[in-house]
Assembly symmetry: D2
Homo-oligomer: 388 residues x 4
Amino acid sequence: MTPWTRKLRMGMIGGGQGAFIGGVHRMAAAVDGQIELVAGCFSRDFENTKKTGAELYLDPARCYRSYEEMAEAEAKLPADTRIDFVSIVTPNKAHFGPAKAFLEAGFHVVCDKPMTYSLDEAKQLEQIVQKTGLVFALTHNYTGYPMVREARELFQSGAMGTVRKVLVEYVQEFLAAPLEKEGMKQAVWRTDPAQSGVGGTIGDIGTHAANLLEYITSDPIAEICAEKSTFLPGRVLDEDVNVLLRLKSGGKGMLAACQVAIGEENALRIKIYGSEGALMWEQENPNYLMVARMGEPLRRHTRGSGFASKPAQDVTRLPSGHPEGFIEAFATIYMEAAAAIRAFIDGTPMKSSEYRFPTVHDGVRGLEFITKAVESSDAGASWVKLAP
Amino acid sequence: MTPWTRKLRMGMIGGGQGAFIGGVHRMAAAVDGQIELVAGCFSRDFENTKKTGAELYLDPARCYRSYEEMAEAEAKLPADTRIDFVSIVTPNKAHFGPAKAFLEAGFHVVCDKPMTYSLDEAKQLEQIVQKTGLVFALTHNYTGYPMVREARELFQSGAMGTVRKVLVEYVQEFLAAPLEKEGMKQAVWRTDPAQSGVGGTIGDIGTHAANLLEYITSDPIAEICAEKSTFLPGRVLDEDVNVLLRLKSGGKGMLAACQVAIGEENALRIKIYGSEGALMWEQENPNYLMVARMGEPLRRHTRGSGFASKPAQDVTRLPSGHPEGFIEAFATIYMEAAAAIRAFIDGTPMKSSEYRFPTVHDGVRGLEFITKAVESSDAGASWVKLAP
Amino acid sequence: MTPWTRKLRMGMIGGGQGAFIGGVHRMAAAVDGQIELVAGCFSRDFENTKKTGAELYLDPARCYRSYEEMAEAEAKLPADTRIDFVSIVTPNKAHFGPAKAFLEAGFHVVCDKPMTYSLDEAKQLEQIVQKTGLVFALTHNYTGYPMVREARELFQSGAMGTVRKVLVEYVQEFLAAPLEKEGMKQAVWRTDPAQSGVGGTIGDIGTHAANLLEYITSDPIAEICAEKSTFLPGRVLDEDVNVLLRLKSGGKGMLAACQVAIGEENALRIKIYGSEGALMWEQENPNYLMVARMGEPLRRHTRGSGFASKPAQDVTRLPSGHPEGFIEAFATIYMEAAAAIRAFIDGTPMKSSEYRFPTVHDGVRGLEFITKAVESSDAGASWVKLAP
Amino acid sequence: MTPWTRKLRMGMIGGGQGAFIGGVHRMAAAVDGQIELVAGCFSRDFENTKKTGAELYLDPARCYRSYEEMAEAEAKLPADTRIDFVSIVTPNKAHFGPAKAFLEAGFHVVCDKPMTYSLDEAKQLEQIVQKTGLVFALTHNYTGYPMVREARELFQSGAMGTVRKVLVEYVQEFLAAPLEKEGMKQAVWRTDPAQSGVGGTIGDIGTHAANLLEYITSDPIAEICAEKSTFLPGRVLDEDVNVLLRLKSGGKGMLAACQVAIGEENALRIKIYGSEGALMWEQENPNYLMVARMGEPLRRHTRGSGFASKPAQDVTRLPSGHPEGFIEAFATIYMEAAAAIRAFIDGTPMKSSEYRFPTVHDGVRGLEFITKAVESSDAGASWVKLAP
């Protein structure tokens, strides 16, 4: 049985009862029928792990007390039984440990973002991935939307010219009330520097915005001037950040992220003005990409239409007008990681340059962004350079 | 092992290579991790079935030559192996046969719409379902959207008053070119009365529009005056229909369906004006429901928000701003059918009045609508009464 | 002094204190600086007329007790003093009298819609206009929007092909509460058949919808099947109407008008699907026209852009992105009527086929529509033919 | 005759053939029927002035060779003949001279923005206005939109709490092509520092964005960090600017202005997130204001509705759904200036704190913003304080 004639076997770290993103990863992994969940350590609390495993119809023998135990035990299972890869969906602080453990045990990894707790961890992880040659996919899930692929294609083909200006914003109401005081698990760890790292909103959503910009334009952020703010009493991490951007190409931009923006749900919006054309995309209405060319009517590119580009079509499941959403975009990262993993197993690994999903390098870049944004803000919002 | 502690086992009729809706059913069944596909007869062409089965990682022994063979063989398998239900995703002409066969073999059924080829078949099927007491879910999938549930709740609670006027339209470009001449499978059977029945667009999408209206308002269409049209040369079935509506409550309305509407993708839109308030919803942007009350600002209800109603929350997977789409709405029908099937297996069957998913009765109603719309149009677009 | 080197002089019938549309006509006439208001009979109540005249800085000598007096007196004034035309902005019942009087006294006329109280009056008026050869403009003001001109051009040029289906709706909340019982002047006369005629909503807004459809497509409504409804107790005129349409070309359509539609402000919306393309326009967001062609991205045509058609540019005052609104569209009717009046005075009258503004023929057509819609509805919503 | 029983008489400086904004001022002054244009010096070229005057039906005797001549001549005319105020619609460089001349000759002034060529001129002008006590209105016309008044009221009433974050952007395609090389008059002077001053886009549209933010929130911009850019070869003034903002209240924000943004027409958009609620408004769709409160559905406030605030109603001409546009908003500045001028003439001058229209103080503030933004950018985009 080749890796192409069976489902891939997934394990999961994190995502126990009370968590949010773990369930999303499971739906994303399940929807295309290519992956089955067979093992997990869903919580530090083994009772939670057992209950979660039961809810997910797992074999209790493959519900583990710790990720270390799991990596070790799975590695000892027969090749036709053990997991092919692990999905890490814990808070930031708990990404590096399992990622290192599973990679070193020979397993491929899908990891939530930001990739690690610190830039230093990120660089270590990058070395481990390079050394092992295993597949590592980072779930900057917004890159999975077909219309984001369309946008990227429009820049890669040259149709948009070079970037003049980018306006990217990611705003949420999520933390406008002090939910962490009510024990809301998502808010507790996100507002705790011991679990999140030096960035609050910068890391949680600011990195998505920065990644999206670079993913679409292939034009790296070269310098930033960032100001972070905290409004609710008692909080220590940033809830809000405004960033001036200088791109490598000479283009300029602004990035705003805020988690105390009343009325906003999950509003990641990007407008990119190039020398030949411009694009506008909004995550909350993701099936459309507005495309402008000078002196012409604005055009609405739609997911699933006959005129969509090949890279967009490649990650499209349904015809136009049948909206795909967040789960499908997320699933695309899994689908593409699965293809890379299968190629690896099959002895014909892809080059990382062939990956369309975000990689460990994007993860390092995210930590670079967080670290430098905090550094800039702490210096009174002055300019700092990002490592190339 | 109870039906609650294992995944349900699904078989599928139809959905082989070249089909569209079968894949949607499979993704919908998979996403929530509650159902596994284990058997199928995907095509009249056994080669296609075998290939499709292989692509879906099925046991070749459970890929069948015909639905009759499959119903018989599955019924003989041990209780812990055989399918729990079958999903029927063939063209209209081929719904009744397998539905009857599997119901009579003791299997629950999920069936695509319109339910049957003719009203007579629909009524026979209704009797079989009633006699067997088995679960029968009809995939009027648009009823699975959380904001459709919100809309229904706003009418059921009385907040919108009684219906004054409904404007519902379902328009597509899909058949604006003669795709059936190019052999496009979806177009071939939809334009062929031998496979579709007496209604073309009326049946394919008109029934969705009629069902949505009745699902939200619980106010049955009592009389209709319908005019169907065919524009492309060589076609015999309607591509377009306009219908005046009289509702049981005394409310009035209009229903438009068209599959030669250039520029439209899958635009099912409904506006319902009641005596106390009004609702507007669009399938292509399904996460929002606009709600009006006299003299007040229009409000945007959103899926996944804290203020959504319980019926909407019950079928919501993600927080607001993380768009759910077509697959998730479709999955809700499967999720609810699965709960009904599990309750049945567990010996505590639900009453059909407890079902929130569309049932065999909705299926009969759909064929009644098709039949009477064609009758009305054939009589020069004169008024006809629908059976209550 | 030629008619081209001075402002035109306007008189007004109706539009006294408490009225609505008179003020709109005055703003529309004023904005382009081509017309000055110099005389009026604003009300049957002479005190109201005098007060209104004073507010408008008119010479008290030219505020008249009755339209008859005004027509007679103005006709006796010197040619360089007397009005060039009169604007009639009274309720429907009071259109015919002054229109006839002023035409017969040699004055051009701008008249609000529906043109008259009855179809018979409309036909009489048509004959008077033809006999006198004077300019008669009917303020179906929505035809003055640049993007409506763009739409018309797209049909006249053949770019959209022939009409397949039209969906036009005009819905308002305006009469959802019984405002006439509170003495609200606009509601009082609109709900009173003695002032409005046989049509309520059909006449007040239904005629706008029908006119817009014919204006854009040049494809006359040939047959209708209409159902009118009244929901609020005590009302006698229709508040709501649904109409099936057969166009001369063979195209089909639906027209909905409703003034008890909670949540709707002044929502005139039209979608026209042709054999080569399709258009969507909404009056509440009038600076945009969505244009579709088969298999291509939807395009947003905008008022004032470089790519707008000449007929749209001809009636555009501001660059794109600087929204023009209701008053400007209304003003376009005045601007075009003024050009026709000046040409007449100058001895080089335009042919009525050169008029882009709605004329007395459109007025007859409007009354034909009202009369036949009521006739159809009274016959149980059966089909009736419209005079060609 | 009191100033309340006659139209006000306006003179105009600038706005000859080939100009754009002069025509807008004339339409804005005309639409409400309160002001008549009676004199002008429309161009440095007297032939142009004479032609323009003729087109506007002016007395040739009141078409002047220079603003100096006009100020002097008009001052000598009888009180019941001479202009009441002058409207200055020239390029920036030519604002100060006429403003000073007419104020010193005793005339009120309406002036386009930015108010002057330099901050120094602005401060001088402020002193002249204060000394003379005359009315000076600055046409930051976007403040005239009813929904901007609604927004301001929502902040002034405390309903939105204190500002946390502002995102304001003003983007246009206007200068994306080198139109100044084709002699397009609007582009020529805007790209010429000798006529525009130190700011290009910053002054032309950046000041509108800054003014709008301060007008709505009453929360002054205290510090800025600005980066300006120029992309097209041969240009010297900025075409683009990105600005980080610190507000006096402690709120933060970003302001983007760009005139080389392909696909954008005249997109002034503002989102203000406060501690109690949030607002979103877009100039291109100005009749709506989206209002958010924590945990509640987004509400659409509409111009002309029964639920609009009094300050919004005060500047509303039409019921909701009948869109008002750019000219009407502009006209509101004239209408309010006219009321102030009449009160002055009548001997009961308003206090400047009662003015709702932008004043000479806003003009100084605009030049402060331009000057400091350029200073910040020239210092490598570092922080500078604005005068309070």
